[in-house]
Symmetry: C2
DNA sequence: CAATTACATGAATTTTATTCATACATGCTT
DNA sequence: AAGCATGTATGAATAAAATTCATGTAATTG
């Protein structure tokens, strides 16, 4: 009666603290999870979670959580071994190209985690920034690129990683801090501090400022910490991923506000040649990246196909 | 895609060496198992068993077997803990009464295995033999009795353990050893050596000799080894469970033959008061007994409800 | 080389899981 | 306190998956 599916549900419930969030994470409806949980609890005659917010595991829930943490990794390791036994053991190679500056924050831990499972796969980072990263796939200069848009493209498979919110950053006590969220024209009067990247890759510019015809003075900085520093010293505004600025917000260095009423959300995807994307070591890399991101980055959300 | 069910199937296949036997052991049809195995192998693109007789695990099969042996005990331990958390922790008691002499052979190891899982359950053997063991349940002198027949009985739950073959034992070189199997009249001319138990409990007498009106001279012995000794010294014939005589046959001390064309098969069951039989520690005792028996006794078969 | 035994397979059936459409509960805002 | 917003529960409908049934096919044995 107790199945692996149940263990995954329990893990997701504990991580996310809510049926609804756990459901989206597992690509199921809230209803499905509710049925499952109720059925499991009824079968053993024991409550697994207190229906509080957030959900809290009972002793029985904790017991199953421990089981899940023991058993699920073993299952995954075994299926990996199985796919390895199945494939013609030609070793894999992953030359990875990255479009966005902040991506290194989570890419490095992801690559480390992956290396533990697939030591035989040779990983490389393709240096520099590129005008057309997808071309790298066709030119066989990269095997996997991380991009912020999915355009159907012959011979290329895209896989969603996650979506995240871009927040507007300003100095503490900045007049705009009194607003609940910023709009395009709020950016008109302060310099905008960005990475040295083409506008095409700067979501605020491309999706908010340019459509509104707002074109503030610009200032460049290479590193996230440098951008935050400049904002804190009242040199201008910036827009950065929520996860990247989280630590600075907690220490009160700067203030962040959503961009637009519903916030400005961006997605990240991997792209790979079809022939590579279907291979197990490739798929597992994407899965590992996604999992690692959800474990370490606060405030990110699942991203549908 | 890989589920616990698959792991159980793979374990059963490896133990039994055949889809058909594994299927009966799992209370499924051969067809169901074939579908499962084929689907699993197709999904990972790898063979798990060579279709030889007996079935032999491939490297991939061995890998999953290792997984099963790691994971399944953990699952069982967790469900036990769950039922313990569920029940009002009144400690259980198991006073066990046994009808058949040879039962101690497998009962003791079974009790040992059970003690490891349920240390808090107090186990006792109710000594001596009893004319009506079921009465012990009503008189509250025993909590579980092991019997060879199931009669519906108000307030008593029977659970099947296994079935086994009774073999006729004779000295090496005995004239009857030339027959493929023995019939009732073959017993007429030699003394019959039995345990000191009422005829009702001696399956050969009750189900073969008495119906045929055959009534040989009798001789008694307390211990299995003593019975075998007497048979070997040409003092008479005996009928004992196949599993009990297996070691003596292997060493050539005596010879065994089936009784009747299809053999003489007996079943064993547990009986307990309904109120007890539904409790987790009780059900788990019966499961442990059954499992232990199948692990240690050669030639026994599953027994339907 | 039958006869037997065991595995595979397609279609039908049963069982189980999931969704859909709501109802119900809880907390927050005005 | 009424009205939203958010989150969980539930019954019925639907979809998906597992199992059986009824065979066919392959391997094994006397």
């Amino acid at each position: 009666m107790l199945t692996l599916k149940h263990l995954r549900v329990i893990e997701a419930l504990n991580d996310s603290g809510s049926l609804t969030r756990a459901a989206t994470r597992l690509h199921l409806t809230q209803s499905a999870l509710s049925h499952q949980l109720v059925a499991l609890e009824a079968h053993y005659g024991v409550a697994l979670f207190e229906r509080s917010r957030p959900l809290r595991a009972t002793p029985a829930g904790v017991r199953l959580l421990a089981l899940a943490q023991e058993v699920l990794p073993k299952m995954e390791a075994a299926t990996r071994d199985l796919t390895r036994l199945a494939e013609d053991n030609q070793p894999g190679r992953l030359r990875i190209a990255v479009e966005c500056h902040t991506c290194y924050d989570w890419l490095m831990p992801g690559m480390d985690a992956y290396r533990a499972h697939w030591p035989e796969v040779e990983m490389d980072l393709v240096g520099g920034f590129h005008t057309d990263p997808l071309a790298l796939l066709h030119e066989d200069k990269a095997d996997l690129v991380i991009v912020s848009e999915t355009a159907r493209h012959k011979g290329v498979t895209f896989s969603p990683l996650f979506r995240y919110e871009m927040l507007a950053l300003m100095a503490t006590g900045h007049p705009l801090a009194s607003k609940a969220y910023l709009t395009a024209r709020d950016f008109a009067h302060d310099p905008l501090i960005t990475y040295p990247a083409p506008d095409r890759l700067l979501d605020v510019v491309r999706r908010v400022l340019k459509p509104a015809g707002v074109n503030p003075e610009r200032r460049l900085a290479e590193l996230t910490i440098a951008i935050v520093q400049l904002v804190a010293s009242r040199k201008g505004l910036a827009a950065l991923p929520a996860w990247a600025v989280q630590p600075f917000l907690e220490r009160g260095y700067v203030v962040a506000r959503p961009i637009g009423k519903n916030g400005l959300w961006s997605g990240l995807y991997t792209a790979a040649r079809d022939s590579d994307a279907s291979r197990a070591f490739h798929r597992d890399f994407v899965d590992t990246l996604r999992e690692q991101a959800f474990m370490t980055l606060p405030g990110i959300e699942p991203l549908g196909a």
